[in-house]
Amino acid sequence: MSETHEGVHRHPAPTGFIRKYIFSLDHKVIGIQYIILALAAVLVGMIMSLLMRLQLSWPGTNWPILETFFPTGAPGGLMTPEFYLSLVTMHGTIMVFFVLTTAPQGGFGNYFLPIQIGAEDMAFPVLNMMSFWVTFLGFLVILFAIVVEGNQSIGQWFAALGPSFVGGSGTVGPIGGWTGYAPLSALGKVAGPGQGAGMNFWVISIAIFCVGSLLGALNFITTLLNMRTKGMSLMRMPLTCWAWFTTAVLALLSFPVLLGGGILLLLDRIAGTSFFIPGGLYVSGLLSGSNPNFPLHTGGSPILWQHLFWFFGHPEVYIAILPGMGATSHILSTFARKPIFGYRAMVFAIFAIGLLGFFVWGHHMFISGMSPYSAVAFSILTLSIGVPSAVKTFNWLGTLWGARIRFTTAMLFALGFVSLFVAGGISGLILGQSSLDLAMHDTYIVTGHFHLVMGVASIFGMFAALYFWFPKMFGRFLGEGLGKFHFWITFIGVYCIFMPMHIMGIAGMPRRYSQFTEYEFLKGLHPLVVFVSVAAIITIATQFVFYFNVIWSIFKGKKAGDNPWEATTLEWNTTTPPPHDNFAGILPTVYRGPYEFAVPGAPKDFIMQAEADAEVPGGNGHNGHKH
């Protein structure tokens, strides 16, 4: 409410460097800031996955450089199991929160949602700026969580907050997994290495991130409902906007639950409450209440944390992938030069996925000892998500059917998204059945499944979006030659990494273990583990080609015009890059649906949304107009 009200859109173009590029109110700058944050975070998460792969495939090898950076995590250059678990935790946390949640929604959504609906900015630009900086603060805190235990002097920085905030014990970062399961995550130092001060900062970082996401979601919903330009009815919006809107609704309804749970967990850790801690707990050789380091706890339930976490955690999966689905639909239609097949069905499928996403959290908890009757209910609801997902896949294929496809890099990544979404989704039908999941839950098949469908598919959606919109954002193409190299190596690479994990999982290889050499029945799988690691190293190396391509293209890329892809939506109506208020003072008027390609009788093979009928001779036979 403390926004400056009527004046929000009169904010003039800023002139100083700080107002223009750092504390900017411009949704386009904020969007790019989110993308930069995601590019930085994904680098951290990717290096962590590299370290994990090195450990898994060549255990016992001495890596002197590791000892330089992590003297306690890797004494003598050998990675400790705790250090490995800490890598698992921080890789998951950073990737899910600071990459998969920031770039698709905060990044591309922020930049393109207002332009695509014909608005001059977000509804509340100050909130928008705060949402980015709060998220950035969360990122700093999560990085701090890694180092707080390692160094004596850093460990004292927040000692004033209480004894549980004192770090520097020489152990490694948080090891609770990205899910931070109670009760171990709720107990503090007594639970062992990696559960001390770093875990406090992990919880605090998640809570901060929740606040930032809520501010963003609020802005997205209000902007979309309130600020569409003349003629932009809901059913004329590009599918990207539908995806961002649904994502914002999911974030709005799921992050408060995680925030509430996070506060309770933090209170358990620092204020002596027992929300998630049952009575009579025996941990690290101590009984609750028998020792001053382990005060008496009673009455709480650790399963409750799982319920709260997964009530957020499952919608979070869709928060990560829905924007990718939107971008894929948009890009497939543009480069197939055909209207999207079944626009309305696509909109309803997005909503159906979002809605069902709220009723399936229990499928993450089949092995928590839940009643088999609940498990069946969760199982049926989970499998029913296959229906809208299949509708989407069918419509993507329908869009491609008989098309003269333009194989740009953006298109390749969008096709890759469809491929990965199907390949990753199929194993969801296996894991969604409680009877099968009981056996497979803690194995690598789960790792393979969610990395393909939630991780890599979402990332491919983002790659497609970046290659597609880069010319609009920076006025230059993102190098197509390097882009295609990047696509093919990454596409083949991720299949080589994650497909073998399905086989390992069925063979019984447990996830989260730092070493498998001790297990006789897994020895035969070791060549496969090495193969996955080699594929991962090659794929990761290729991403540096991508980083180079981005930086090189911003300055030296081929120049792009206002509408280089011959696309139809409003962002291609304005200049490249768009002016401060997006449309130089004159909001466009929308006359038609978003995907009017190959209209019979029209002079060109595309009609832009803002082209008036008078400007389109013979434009009588559009598709998809049923308003």
Binding site: M1, M227, G231, V257, L259, G299, I586
Partner: protein, 231 residues
């Protein structure tokens, strides 16, 4: 297009209040290839981008409330699912009083809103002040309730049931402080800019703040009943 620009140009300098076209999910469109694009019901048919939009604030408040209600729903879920042990905790007497206070404050804020609709600005200010005082009284009574709990040997640390007495009141109180800040904002706005034609803004903001305040009242009544009846 030219006509559109001309309308825009007049709108920028105009100070007249523009009547809002209502806030449905969008007006009907002409058929395919309709001659006129028509408004979508949100942005107004004149395409003005600089006028005050009451719908924006109403939507935002509903969205904020949706998030807040989700959080309290989750916390209530934890409370309902927790095991409540042997300790019988008597509801502090002050919590009965605070429940009454917050219900009355909702009524006084409604009075303020009504006064505004009849353009009785002095009454509006008085009812706002009464609501503000009741809000502060509510917070005070909650704090006294904490003392009662403490005297009865119910502490924050311990089993979930006793923790929740403090936790619910604290989280709800934090949100109510937000409501008090909004009331102060309304009071400040009622003093300044009195000559400007901002009736619509004042009506909108009062309605939005009232919505928040009623929601906070309803949430407290829910939490109170939960603590009272489910032991």
């Amino acid at each position: 297009m030219l006509r559109y620009q001309a309308v825009m140009a007049t709108m920028v300098t105009s100070t007249k209040t523009v009547t809002k076209k209502g806030a449905g999910s969008g007006a009907k469109f002409p058929g395919p290839n309709g001659k006129k694009p028509g408004g979508n019901g949100w942005h107004g048919d004149d395409g003005s981008k600089r006028k005050f939009s009451p719908a924006r604030y109403r939507i935002t408040m509903w969205v904020v409330l949706a998030a807040i209600i989700m959080m309290f729903a989750a916390l209530s879920g934890v409370y309902i699912m927790s095991t409540h042990g042997e300790q019988r905790i008597a509801m502090p007497h002050m919590f009965f009083a605070s429940t009454g206070i917050i219900i009355i404050s909702s009524w006084t804020l409604t009075r303020a809103k009504r006064s505004l609709q009849f353009e009785q600005s002095r009454r509006y200010v008085s009812w706002l002040l009464v609501t503000l005082v009741l809000g502060l009284a509510f917070l005070t009574s909650q704090l006294i309730g904490w003392r009662e709990l403490k005297d009865a040997g119910v502490y924050f640390a311990g089993q979930p049931h006793s923790s929740f007495f403090y936790f619910f009141t604290a989280v709800h109180g934090a949100h109510l402080i937000g409501g008090i800040i909004l009331l102060v904002f309304l009071l400040v706005r009622s003093k300044t800019n009195i000559l400007k034609p901002e009736t619509e803004k004042r009506n909108t903001w009062t309605a939005v703040v009232a919505l928040y305040w009623h929601a906070m009242g309803a949430i407290w009544v829910w939490l109170f009943l939960l603590l009272l009846l489910l032991k």
